[in-house]
Amino acid sequence: MIFVILGNSQLSFIRLIQLVELCKIFQGKTIIYQFGSTPFDPVKYPNSFDYVNRNKYETIFKQSELVISHAGVGTIIDAGEYQKPLVIVPRRKKENEHHNDHQTQICHELIQNARPGIFPILDESIFEQTVSNALNFNKNDNDSYNLHRRKLMDYLSTQIQLWF
């Protein structure tokens, strides 16, 4: 099962649907979309939805072999929490997919400072290859998830202990 999350910034993100639908690697796999604010035809996508409650979202996220998403902070954090490989495609200002380009900036940073299991895509032509890499990502390498988060928590912990 593949979970595709388009995000909810009041603007559509049709480009990501097109990228997913052109991908031959998904043939025979179930794809569930969370369309968010992007309009969709419920007849064409019977398993998909605009939003679901947090419990259902979490269940689908955990059951999926791969998550593909806009480069929203919330989804990237969730992928770390649930230890799922995540392919992220940034919403762009010039395509009227977001009000600014912070998602592209986050992808640049995540390319320079790679996080295991997070696969940012700035160039659409490598979408299928990246998805293939993400599907083959070694999910047993759990220690490598959330390295930067653990560093931050350790630092906060030391600082708070100094004060109190």
Binding site: R54, G72, V73, G74, I76, I77, G80, E81, H102, Q105, I106, H108, E109, L110, R115, H148, R149, R150, K151, L152, M153, D154, Y155, L156, S157, Q159, I160, Q161, W163, F164
Partner: protein
Amino acid sequence: MKNKIKVGLIASMGGHLTELLIIQKHFKFENVFYVSEKSPVIESLSPCYTHLPLIVHPINIIKYLIKSIQIVFKEKPELLISTGAETIIPIAYLSKLFFKTKIIYIECSAQVHKKSLTGIILYPIADLFLVQWKSLLKEYGSHAKYQGSII
């Protein structure tokens, strides 16, 4: 660490709050209170104080300023932790002034190259001011630090 320090966890809804809750998931502070905008996520937490979005109506800002005074004097926080945005501003200044509260401000990871308005306002009084991307360090002064990130 002193047992049961009084901690205020404060963030606006969305990514700010998601990041803050990851911090609480790690630390499990027991003597805690939450402040955020009204949303299903925050209402499942206790005790919590909520307010309406401040940008929409100026009257909400005035109401929230009054509420902030009530929250600060009722809770007397020893430590505040915030990942932005504007929700933290009045509570941080009031707590610092009246209770010398320690303040940890962590710029939200959506701020990659550009300072946030809340970050600029909190910078002078935060005891610990963290950014989540190294690229933002040069935008702030030497008081800002990078020590890892939630993403």
